[in-house]
Amino acid sequence: MSAMTTTAPAPTGPAPKAPSSLGRAVRSMLKSRAATFGFALVIVNIVVAILAPVLTSYDPIATDAMSALQESSGAHLLGTDALGRDTLTRTLFGGQYALAISFTATGLTVLLGSVIAGIAAYRGGIVDDIITRVLDSVLAVPAILSMLVVVTIFGTGPWVIILAVVVVYTGGVTRIVRAAAMDVMPKDFITAAKARGEGMFSILFREVFPNVLDIILVEFAMRASWVVLLISSLSFLGFGASPPTPDWGLMVAENRNLMAVVPMATLSPIAALASLIVGLNLAADGLAKSFGIDRMKEVLG
């Protein structure tokens, strides 16, 4: 009996209703050890960020001059920083800012980029030309210059950082999704939807996007890894999270001059940050592979 259930169904004959391509891709991805590990890393990071207040009894912000610059000990497993704050505690809390902002920003970027791409592909002609050329020029301005200009105009609140990410990365998403949407446009079901008199947005969200969902998902995972990189760099440069927020980029900036005294204060946020981004990269690789997408092509967008 068990032998029968584990063998694959015969390839001939009417299949009982094929599982959706999304479900199939997720299952084939979970078979890859690297991709599963990547997803696990991302999920662990999210869970730790949410549960941080439960996981530790120290306050991530309150300073304690008496216990400044301690090495690892039973009380402070990873030592303390110059203000006597527990390094492990700040590292556990440190993902909150980066994760919340990165995922919001990436979500908005991918949504906006897809809608613009959809409009370009749907309208075609001059609309398409204008959109393509303008985005090309946005991409020609170095990302960091656009970020700095946006941050200087609006200050350094979380929504400003999100806006800056959207400005910088929408162009790339649009390029990739547009190319995929172009392939879908001439299909019969689009023509049918147009004949039914459906509006542009209804066609985009009900016909076009579901058919390029694989591209959009890979795009999300890959952009998320870049956005985490970018946001932590901004925090490091002093344009992102502001002290005393526990944030990985900021922690590295605060403690790197004390590296000779308390190396852990610098190295543990680095390790946490790297684990999150390695996880996102492995997940993006796994998604791309199981959907049969060439990830390097997406990078070029």
Partner: protein, 318 residues
């Protein structure tokens, strides 16, 4: 072919122009301008007005843009609103310093990553490939500031052979800068190499599977002949775009790394001019960056053209 490149060239000029318009209008919407910035918050309104007139800020934005463009086309990019010196001179000297850093990074980085990518592709799924691919994954996953910090920890603190910051000022000669260029360059190489290694590995594997390489091997060619004559030119093709894109990306990395090491280049200048709203300087930096982006892409197209005979016969391809 000539029409193809003429068309690409036309669009490139358009792209650079549009990029400057975008940055110009974004800077216009910044609260405060160079006049208020220079005089501080306690300046009287009349002093600010006089300063605006001196700097030419009282004219409408559109006419200022075209004045700037007309002069720029004659090679005159105006004077820095803050330092007072010629913008071209200031950006030029920063650009020379950055070129030293970028040049070292590009030459070593590209050679290193092509070799590593080739080795990884040829030893697919065996230990050299696995370790190189792991390294590339790490390189993709850590920001420049982390690599820079770790390098400082290793090579300025544990084994003090390189300086942790550049002490030489804005006017230092290249020889003065040379000893301190290696750590920043090392940080940039790690980040630059990751994607090139990956792309090279993927395309080496693709080409190894192709029929003409199998034929070349079966004909009894030596391994080195197969690799250098048959494999490399084809495997380089898709890698070229990634290289071009990475060089354009380097501009962003340079900003972070330069500010960490206090390196007197274009990145440090960029951060300072955004902080002081020094529009002429920002515009020239934008033009230079956009030019770099466009030229890299044009060069990649051109190199692809040289490496791929199919592109030379326009009729056989679309």
């Amino acid at each position: 072919m000539v029409t193809f490149f003429a068309k690409r060239l036309g669009w490139s000029v358009f792209t650079v122009l549009l990029a400057t318009v975008l940055v110009f209008s974004a800077i216009q919407s910044l609260p405060g301008d160079a006049a208020t910035q220079l005089l501080g918050q306690n300046a009287t309104p009349s002093a600010v007005a006089t300063m605006r007139q001196q700097l030419g800020l009282d004219e409408p934005p559109v006419s200022r843009f075209f004045t700037w463009l007309g002069k720029a086309l004659h090679g005159d990019f105006g004077n820095s609103l803050v330092g007072g010196g010629s913008v071209a001179g200031e950006v030029g000297s920063a650009l020379v310093n950055t070129s030293l850093l970028a040049g070292i990074t590009i030459v070593i980085g590209i050679l290193l990553s092509l070799v590593l990518g080739l080795v990884a592709g040829l030893t697919r799924d065996r230990w050299p490939d696995i370790s190189i691919s792991m390294l590339a994954l790490v390189g993709m996953s850590v920001p420049e500031f982390v690599v820079a910090t770790v390098l400082v920890l290793l090579f300025s603190i544990y084994i003090p052979i390189f300086p942790a910051v550049v002490i030489a000022g804005q006017n230092a000669s290249l020889a003065d800068l040379l000893p301190s260029v290696w750590l920043p360059a090392g940080a940039l190489i790690c980040v630059l190499a990751a994607y090139i290694i990956r792309m090279m590995r993927t395309s080496v594997i693709d080409v190894m599977d192709s029929e003409f390489v199998r034929t070349a091997i079966l004909k009894g060619n030596s391994t080195s002949r197969v690799v250098f004559k048959h494999l490399l030119p084809s495997a380089m093709l898709p890698t070229l775009n990634v290289i071009a894109m990475n060089i354009a990306w380097l501009i962003g990395g340079v900003v972070v790394v330069e500010s960490i090491f206090n390196y007197p280049g274009i990145g440090t200048l960029m951060i300072r001019s955004v902080q002081t709203r020094d529009l002429p300087t920002i515009l020239l930096i934008t033009v230079m960056s956009a030019l770099t982006y466009v030229v890299c892409n044009l060069l990649a197209d051109f190199a692809a053209f040289l490496l791929n005979p199919r592109l030379r016969y326009p009729r056989s391809s679309k």
